[in-house]
Symmetry: C2
Subunit: 136 residues, 2 copies
């Protein structure tokens, strides 16, 4: 069902110091930068082989990532698994009794299709599934 | 420096319900199960392509994962990046000014060599580097 870890999402207060860390000290290559207004973030993707680190800076305090930062500070925010058919995966997860935040796929970063599973169904781990743009 | 995301570590109270979730509903294949006494956990690795999910159940409350669970509940605990030469990577990270929990590699799950970077150097993300056994 899941072909790889697509990315880990990391909540940060400001992108620039995080880019110095991940792009500088850890020597990852920046692949993409985008304001995803629907999710209330400015996001940067860095390559780690075929996986990515997604840095997430909130556009305001009153956004999901803004509230996450206020509650528990910067750190690991979510994990995303890559799939080839997000509609079929959503159906399979639903049949397995998992509760979804998104019943239907929506557009994510870089033209991907994404959906989030509710942390109550995943032992506290905010979990995203991603069908990359090149697949759909 | 990092060739891929080796695994995400997920803190759980009990392994069996987590295995029902990851091995059952999410259809991941269990690759390995091991008590890592030095880290105070029983761990299970599940395959996600060439990446893994590492489920971590504490051997007692007075362990790093036990304290993590008491403080913030189950969820994402750490991320691990795969490297081919952990000694050279530790040296490069140190030269970049990063603070390590482990100055020298130690033995991790499945005979790997591992070291943790301090979350103060990584924006709150507990970060591990892993040289798999087949590489050393």
């Amino acid at each position: 069902m899941f072909s790889r870890i697509d990315h880990i999402g990391v909540a940060v207060q400001e992108l620039e110091p995080a880019l110095e860390l991940y792009g500088g000290s850890m020597q990852l290559t920046v692949a993409h930068r985008e304001v995803v207004a629907e999710q209330g973030v400015e996001a940067v993707l860095l390559d780690v082989g075929e996986n990515h680190v997604e840095l997430l800076a909130p556009l305001s305090e009153d956004t999901p990532v803004g509230r996450f930062l206020a509650k528990q500070g910067p750190g690991l925010h979510h994990v995303a698994y890559q799939v080839t058919d997000i509609v079929a995966t959503l159906e399979a997860l639903g049949q397995a009794g998992m509760r979804m935040i998104d019943e239907q796929p929506r557009t994510g970063i870089r033209g991907s299709l994404v959906a989030f599973i509710h942390p109550r169904s995943t032992g506290g781990v905010l979990t995203e599934i991603v069908q990359p743009a090149e697949v759909h």
